[in-house]
């Protein structure tokens, strides 16, 4: 029904030499909330527009349900799209905006009335039906844009950064409402965003893209906990993952990750993988999340295996957390600490340790995950 299948889809614009979308191959199941995330210019919007029929497909095939839609016009694809700037018809009332698509399908009047009212009820915009878009706030307009999409009862919803024009507080609220809407409607949604928080909180599955190429597909948890490469690791998560360059040293005491300032013992399981892959004495990148580094005397301290001293460069107070920016001469580290337990000052020296079972090793050349 509402499944979408991308078969080696490529897009190349006439004016550009490289592919904007390169060999995109993915199966989206019916009822899934798929989030395409990546920095601007990564091809995620282009992909969505190809699915909507607003852009030609250079190579490959797109299926909605069992139907190949490459040459089907937008209106016959049974999709609905929500745009970043809402794209409400400025001269029409909210009712007319929502009803426009239904009118064009020549729906009987009573049914049209009923469906618009029902959509308005779901989105709590019944009171706005007579208003013009210019007399509404950003959040209200966004709701109307959603209403215009859901009233059509499409097989697939497409959303192109629908929340990026809203202010921070409203964005959180609408995020929640779209998630609830998806739960209620159980319709396939494909959602494009550059905001990794939206991706993490809303998606049942996330596709991370860069330069038109899929970097990783997985649930938010998978992507966060086991990123496939340094790009995904750095892009997903706030603050971004810490990367430390060093070498692997195999001594009689064990296998160590060695920077010029400190040595960290690598747990046996990871050490075996690295040695098996012949990384002894080679350059390597260690990736560690801010919450997998602990300061001495903190609750998580018992989990850490190797410790070293560092100085506090800057403090970022976030309310529930404090981020310590530590200066290690050749690199800096961001550490999350509990602000209530530990009081730090800029310039303090702290002893920190890594939870070595939860660090990642990347090849500095290919940037791929090793273990």
């Amino acid at each position: 029904m509402g499944s979408v299948s991308f078969q080696h889809v490529k897009k190349q614009y006439a004016t550009e030499r490289r592919y904007s979308v390169d060999d995109f191959h993915l199966q989206v199941e019916d009822g899934e909330f798929l989030v395409l995330v990546g920095p601007s210019g990564c091809g995620k919007s282009t992909l969505l527009r190809m699915l909507a029929g607003l852009e030609d497909i250079s190579e490959g095939e797109i299926y909605i349900g069992d139907r190949m839609v490459n040459y089907v016009s937008s209106k016959d694809r049974n999709i609905a799209m929500v745009f970043q700037n809402y794209a409400l018809y400025p001269h029409m009332s909210v009712f007319e905006n929502i009803a426009f698509g239904l009118r064009l399908r020549k729906l009987p009047k009573h049914e049209l009335q009923e469906r618009v009212t029902r959509a308005a009820k779901v989105l709590e915009i019944e009171a706005l039906l007579d208003k013009l878009p210019k007399h509404m706030s950003g959040g209200q307009r966004q709701r109307v844009a959603l209403g215009r999409a859901i009233v059509r009862e499409p097989e697939v919803f497409l959303m192109d950064e629908p929340l990026s024009n809203l202010d921070a507080k409203l964005r959180v609220q609408m995020r929640e409402e779209i998630t609830k809407l998806h739960r209620k409607l159980q319709t396939t949604m494909i959602y494009v965003t550059h905001d990794q928080i939206e991706a993490m909180t809303m998606g049942t599955r996330i596709v991370v893209m860069r330069s038109g190429i899929i970097q990783q597909v997985g649930t938010p948890k998978e992507i966060y906990q086991s990123p496939k490469n340094m790009f995904v690791a750095g892009f997903i998560g706030t603050p971004p993952m810490n990367f430390i360059h060093g070498t692997i040293q195999h001594t009689s005491d064990g296998v160590f990750f060695d920077t010029r300032r400190y040595r960290l013992l690598i747990p046996a399981k990871k050490a075996k993988v690295l040695i098996d892959q012949r990384y002894h004495d080679k350059r390597i990148v260690l990736g560690v999340r801010a919450e997998k580094i602990a300061c001495k005397d903190s609750v998580d301290w018992s989990l850490t295996q190797s410790q070293f001293d560092s100085t506090v460069d800057m403090l970022e107070f976030m309310g529930s957390d404090t981020y310590l920016h530590l200066n290690n001469t050749d690199h800096s580290l961001i550490v999350r600490v509990d602000p209530l337990r530990l009081g730090f000052q800029e310039g303090d020296t702290v002893t920190v340790g890594f939870d070595m079972n939860n660090v990642h090793f990347f090849d500095p050349g290919t940037e791929e995950l090793l273990c």
Partner: protein
């Protein structure tokens, strides 16, 4: 007594506030304001004169020194215009009808052709689109006099001399209007059309239901410009029409003011016709100016 005191105090306060506000305006602004005010009065004088002149009785029309404001207003001039000219070979109303018909058809034609061309140039890519738009811009540079002869030949050869088409068709190709409309259509976000396309609208429907309504301010502007141009032009009557009954009102006015320069009776009729020529311009402007000022284009968009 108390209230009076309060009132004087309050008015004193508001006066003081007005004075402070006035002091905040710098000298440059004050001088500019004064200059613009004088200019506005200067520009308004002919309009006042046209209105007053049409209602002056014959003795006032020839008053020396001439006065702006009518002393004893009368409708005599209009009566002369409508009644006396009816007995002539071609009555005044025939010219008026010709003018109204050709001007309104020209307006509809220009708006239709310009907006469609503008939409095509702005939102579609078709073979030669850039070339044709460049050609339109190029056409802006021609003085109408330069193309008078070739245009005459075209009109003569397609056989529309002495028809209403000869009044309308030469004016329909309006590069200025196309350019103006295109600039406006350019500002309409593509998403609006894409949303309509996904909603199931075909090209014509998008044009009529989305693009045209959003472009009302631009259409109003084009309507004003076209009306003013078409309503007052005499070239088509001069060049392509030899049959008197097919000529337009401005041509008639021209013959009145030229031919009857020394005719005492004609002066009153000329004054009345002058007002009739002017009033539609004013009406069109007053009707459309609100639309021109209304900026609807981006209200659905953040």
């Amino acid at each position: 007594m108390k209230t009076l005191q309060m009132m004087t105090r309050r008015s004193g306060v508001s006066l003081a506030r007005a004075w402070r506000k006035a002091k905040a305006v710098d000298w440059f602004q004050r001088i500019t304001f004064l200059g613009l005010l004088l200019l506005a009065v200067f520009m308004a004088l002919p309009i006042i004169f046209i209105f007053n002149h049409a209602f002056k009785p014959i003795n006032e029309l020839f008053l020396y020194p001439p006065r702006f404001i009518v002393q004893e207003p009368t409708l005599e001039n209009f009566r002369d215009l409508f009644l006396k000219t009816q007995s002539l070979v071609i009555p005044f109303t025939r010219y008026l009808f010709n003018s109204l018909l050709t001007t309104s058809l020209t307006m509809i034609g220009v708006i239709g052709v310009s907006s469609m061309a503008a939409y095509a140039f702005s939102k579609h890519v078709f073979p030669g689109s850039k070339f044709f738009f460049a050609l339109t811009i190029f056409a802006l540079m021609f003085a109408p006099e330069a193309v008078a002869i070739p245009r005459y030949l075209v009109i003569a050869n397609i056989g529309i001399m002495n028809t209403y088409f000869a009044h309308i068709i030469p004016l329909i190709a309006a590069p200025t209007s196309v350019f103006l409309m295109k600039q406006f259509v350019d500002q309409i976000p593509n998403e609006l059309m894409e949303a309509a396309r996904i909603d199931g609208a075909k090209e014509w429907l998008i044009f009529f239901r989305i693009v045209m309504p959003v472009c009302t301010p631009a259409i109003a502007t084009v309507a004003i410009l076209t009306f003013q141009g078409a309503w007052s032009q005499t070239e088509t009557s001069n060049l392509y029409i030899q049959v008197e009954s097919m000529k337009t009102l401005p041509y008639y006015v021209m013959t009145l003011t030229n031919g009857l320069a020394n005719n005492v009776v004609g002066q009153g009729i000329a004054a009345a016709v002058g007002l009739i020529m002017f009033v539609p311009n004013l009406i069109i402007f007053l009707v459309s100016q609100r639309r021109v000022l209304a900026t609807m284009a981006h209200s659905g968009i953040k």
